[in-house]
């Protein structure tokens, strides 16, 4: 089973907990850490289940609920906000018919907010999975979404 292979990659030390959780999440088709994953991690590291749960809920990059194939993370830090990320958020919500933290019915997109991505020079910006895209306009957002849908 792939999960055990992941665990074996790391020494059972507490400081590996974030690497393990990330790896488990990245290898999950639905981009989340499941209850079973947390349990496996807790058993592997010999720490209480509640501790791993506490870590996973503390960091926003982990999700405990299933997510879509593509994760949109729109920056809502002040520079992006000033450059209009607020209205972009409304646009995205309307277009995808979901709220922040939700997944589209077809399971293609999940919408999330994020803190500063460090590309304030090209604000407003978002991350589509691992790619950062700046100087957003509604048209550009449309194009990005279209491109992701096509690449399914």
């Amino acid at each position: 089973m792939y999960k055990e292979t992941i665990l074996k990659k790391f020494e059972p030390r507490l400081d590996n907990i974030l690497y393990i959780l990330h790896e488990l999440q990245d290898n999950n088709e639905q981009h989340y850490v499941s209850k079973e994953d947390l349990k496996l991690c807790a058993d592997y590291l010999s720490v209480p289940y509640s501790f791993v749960h506490g870590v996973a809920t503390f960091y926003t990059m982990f999700s405990l609920t299933p997510r879509g194939r593509n994760i949109i993370r729109l920056c809502d830090s002040p520079p992006c906000h000033l450059m209009g990320s607020g209205s972009l958020l409304d646009y995205l919500k309307n277009k995808l018919k979901i709220d922040v933290g939700e997944t589209t019915k077809d399971g293609v997109f999940t919408l999330e907010l994020t803190s500063c991505l460090g590309v304030c020079g090209v604000a407003p910006a978002l991350m589509m999975n691992n790619a950062t895209i700046g100087k957003l306009t509604p048209e550009k957002v449309d194009a990005i979404l279209e491109e992701r849908r096509k690449s399914l």
Binding site: S46, Y49, S50, H53, G54, F58
Partner: protein
Amino acid sequence: MTKEKKLSITIDNRTVEVRPHLTILEAARTHNIYIPSLCAMEHLPSYGACRLCVVEVDGLRGFPTSCTTPVEDGMVIRTDTGEIRTLRQEVLKLLLSEHPASCLFCTEQDECKDYQGTIRKAGVITGCRYCPNDTRCELQQVTERIGLTETSYPVYYRNFPVEKNDPFYDRDYNLCILCGRCVRVCNSVRLNGTLSFKQRGKITTVGPAFDRTHLEAGCEFCGACVTVCPTGALSTKTSKWYGKPDKEVATTCVYCPVGCTLKLQVRKSEVLDVLPDYNSALDHGFICVKGRFAVPEYVHSSFRIPVPQRITPLGYNDISWDEAIAEAAERLAGVKPDSFLMMVSPQLTNEDLFVAQQFARQIIGSDQIGSPLLYDLGADTGPFVNLVSQSSAFDVIDDAEAVLAIGFDSTYDYAPIGIGTKKAAQRGAVLVTINSCDTNLDMLSEMAFTCGTEKWSALVGLLTGASAQGAAPLFPTWKKDIAGIQGIFKKSTRKVIIAGPGLLAAPQRTEIIEKLLKVKEKGGWDIIVAHPYSNLKGMLAMGAFHGIKTGAIINENGQAEGVKGDLSKFDLTKGCTVIYAVGVSDLDSLPDCDYLIYQNALPSESQRRPDLLLPAALFTESSGTVINGEGRILPVNKAVEPYRSAKPDWWILNAIGERIKKGVMKYAQVQSVQKEIAKTIKGFPGVKKRLEFSRIDVKMKTPKGAPKMRKQGQFNYRGIPLEAVVKGMKAIEERIELISGSNRGAI
């Protein structure tokens, strides 16, 4: 040992000498300098959450928190400057911006105090429903001390639902200030790990993973989190709103043979709550759910027998003590020694047990003294009491290299032994468990053997080297593991076996016990026995046991002579004229008789109806002593007056005995009983060190009508299952049932 060099520091212009390795806060506290703090606590690791303990230190930037800054030689510290005071007020305001603060600033605060003590008070008078009103709110005290009378921030009410689903305590995380004391006590002191912070930011709460209840998450319900909580977020169900206790009485728990110190919180004639004693050398405050939560509901149960009662064709009639004593004496006078049977509970105090055996032997002239454990153990009683009398001190675990736990789980009982074992495993000792279901020690164990009880004997033999290697084919899958552990055990020198209550449910328990005794003798193992018969050692020492004289088993001079007991002629099935049951409630198992005296606090659940009911006082209502599992004499102290006309067991026995035969007992108070005991056990009850017990060799044969294996609740006091009177224990019994089926210590 070289003496550690003391450090000289200056706190608030006072130069003081302190030990090294202290934090500034600890140093200040040892010199009675007050620094407010809500998260730091003795016995807990430093955390630095509340930020109230900030101080100024010369040479350090900003305002360090004194609970996380270690002292250094020559440090100059100021704890109470104007700037610090403003800073603390501001920090406290921020803390209170998420805490309903009406009770802290309410203008009717003083009047409110006068109304404390009625359940409806809070709601009716002030419209406030938060405070459990146990006057243990540290937040309130700190707010007063810091002198905050108003807050300039709007209060953000987090609107978490109050969690009331679990037994024993409620949780209202709207009052939580996230100091992390409960999380730390659960993880670093109790080594349980049920609690953790969940989420982040304003939605942070404390709890087990996901939305499981505490019961499902493996909470021990030790109540440590409730004890350390500085706010009203965690509160005991039974004692909240009762108000402030008048006094605190330290006593010894009689629910199991560990004998933890309990600090009873008493108001008028009621025990409201029980707190642990973190300074107790024996248990370090590691009390379990039974001691923490199961005392008040038991001792103040509404089912208690109020006055002596006599059976009539129409039911029970109340009678006076005089009539009751006269009737009992009349029935007992002239009864043939052979047709008398006295049944005593091993959960009575030494004094009660001593007077009971004197009653049987000197008043009636009979040696017919039995105990319910004969029903539980039958022909295995002999080896079992021998094992108990040779058990070691509990602290052998503290420096053990290898621990083998058989049928032992410390989730809901024997907590100090369990935590000692966990600590040993954490520091590197090899822990191996044998049980028929998962236990709370498995996570830290080198190997957990989970198998049916019928295989235990072979497994114990293999692991400890008590039997030849021949049984190995029984465990094909564990071949390697067993070999590995045999190797480790062979090499270790300080080895401990913990024999848990599960052992008593194993079919070959005698065989296992014999193996344990053998390896104790030859293999250098220490043995700790965790059994449900609290004062069994006291019972043996007092001689309240067929064929054993008072004090005979105490091995004062270290002569390993051994005592001979004889149960081979003792017949528990033969009909009697009179049976006298003291603290024993399984009446259906007793033989037939013409007259049955039932002396206990709560009515028996049996079908059989006793002829005379005598109300007895419980351990909170009478003084005495018990001898715990390691042989220490521990005091049981009276906290409240007995319920209605209840009397201590020794008093009742003494009164009836005096009526039958004058001049044998004549005990006016418990001290005179102790004086009598001191004639055989020197220095009783002031003996400081452990009493050494001799080997005991009880001649046995399988008793006629071999006693059946009884199936009943896990936890009993004086024969009454705790779950029958303590509501929360029922949930715990159900939980145990769910996890283990009927495997865990089923007697």
